[in-house]
């Protein structure tokens, strides 16, 4: 009798533990929300990626459609090569535009995709040719100052 009670308590204990872990995974974590399982990867070349990091989201119309897989520096052409994993469910035309945006004023950076009009879709290993770099605040300010200075002359 005592042994059955003990077993029951241990069973309840383990069950509560499993429930909390499931609760953490489902309700707190992102296991359910963006499960990108099957992906195809494309590359994009940028002159400047700003603060983009691996695992940053890829968004199209604000919806997360993929993640940045890796970022390497190409020593031949001196620009950044960003490898992007896109969910297989979403197809994009070959002339899709890739921009690096910043979420909010101080937020993280992400890659925004804007679909073009090409009939063919991007496939595994393709390259997105039309890209726009991250906005670098210092460059922007110096451009502004130069234009102000030339105005005053």
């Amino acid at each position: 009798m005592d042994k059955i009670k003990l077993d029951a308590w241990v069973g309840i204990f383990v069950a509560i533990g499993v429930i909390s872990l499931l609760g953490l995974a489902m309700k707190v974590g992102n296991l359910t929300s963006n499960d990108i399982r099957e992906t195809y990867s494309v590359i994009a070349h940028f002159e400047n990626i700003g603060g983009l990091k691996p695992r940053a989201p890829i968004k199209a119309a604000g919806v997360v459609v993929g993640r940045v897989k890796s970022i390497v520096f190409d020593t031949k052409a001196y620009h950044a090569v960003v490898k992007i994993d896109i969910d297989k469910r979403y197809a994009f035309p070959k002339d899709t535009f890739a921009n690096i945006y910043t979420a909010g004023l101080l937020g993280e950076q992400y890659v925004g995709l804007e679909a073009g009009g090409d009939m063919n879709n991007l496939a595994e290993g393709d390259r997105i040719t039309q890209t726009q770099d991250a906005v670098v605040l210092e460059k922007l300010i110096s451009q502004f100052l130069y234009s102000k200075a030339s105005e005053e002359e």
Binding site: K3, L6, D7, W9, V10, I12, F13, V14, I16, G17, V18, I19, S20, L21, G23, L24, A25, K27, V28, G29, N30, L31, T32, S33
Partner: protein, 262 residues
């Protein structure tokens, strides 16, 4: 000159004896691994220990988790409110609990609640020569007494840490959403957007597993190593709490730097 030599002797002795104890604890660890077959073959032995270390710790874990979560909710709200981003309170509470406070506070409470009990029990068993009696009867005391307690601690700790994190988040929810009135949808959705299953939750579970191993090994070794007197057992119990707490905090830093760096 004589005083100087005495001084160095003392320093040297304290270092070598510590290293000696570390080596003995490691040997005990391998001995447990080797002779732990029995604790799975006769699982009711381990089951009984899970009851004592896990189930009996539930009350203290749940109550303290709830209060820790509520305090996090309050403190976080008053700071985040200054920057106009009180909706991020869910992220703050969840990340703080899942990454750090869940595993660490659980392990500290576990060392105080279960670790001391293990040390005192084994120390007293040794003092009253129950372990020697077992050996006389050709029963391996490590397989029969030590290993089940070790595995019970290793199994119970991640479960307790998960419960701690979940209850803590519920405590934060109670304060932030029900008492203060932060928007409920923002609380959960921001949390889900920023807590990663692999990098936050699984890493927290790995941490608590490591703490479980460290805590129980320290408690078992201190009990096994205690001088067979009332004073010896009481000193060993104190040492269990001190050593476990320091090891938990040190290991936490090392594990975190590996996890964030990797």
């Amino acid at each position: 000159m004589k005083i100087l030599i005495n001084f160095f002797e003392k320093v040297g002795y304290s270092i070598t004896s510590r290293i000696n104890r570390l080596g003995m604890a490691t040997r005990l660890f391998f001995l447990i691994i080797i002779s732990s077959g029995e604790s799975f073959r006769r699982f009711h032995l381990t089951m009984k220990e899970i009851y004592f270390t896990g189930v009996m710790s539930l009350v203290i874990i749940i109550v303290s988790a709830f209060f820790v979560g509520m305090v996090l909710g309050l403190q976080g709200y008053y700071t985040l409110q200054k920057y106009g981003s009180s909706e991020a309170i869910g992220v703050l509470v969840a990340l703080a609990l899942v990454r750090e406070l869940g595993p660490v506070v659980t392990a500290l409470l576990f060392a105080g609640r279960a670790g001391t009990a293990i040390t005192a029990e084994i120390g007293l068993m040794k003092a009253t020569e129950q372990l020697s009696a077992m050996e006389m009867m050709a029963v391996n005391p490590v397989g029969r007494i030590i290993a089940p307690r070790f595995w019970a601690g290793v199994i119970a700790m991640p479960i307790l840490a998960s419960i701690f994190s979940m209850v803590g988040i519920l405590g934060g929810y109670v304060v932030a959403v029900i008492v203060i009135g932060v928007d409920e949808g923002a609380f959960w959705s921001q949390m889900q957007a920023n807590v990663d299953f692999r990098y936050d939750i699984v890493n927290g579970v790995i941490k608590s597993l490591v703490f479980g191993v460290a805590c129980t090994i320290i408690a078992l070794f201190e009990g096994f190593d205690a001088p067979p007197t009332a004073e010896g057992v009481s000193r060993a119990t104190t040492r269990t709490v001190v050593t476990s707490s320091l090891v938990i905090l040190g290991l936490d830093f090392i594990l975190t730097s590996f996890m964030l760096g990797g």
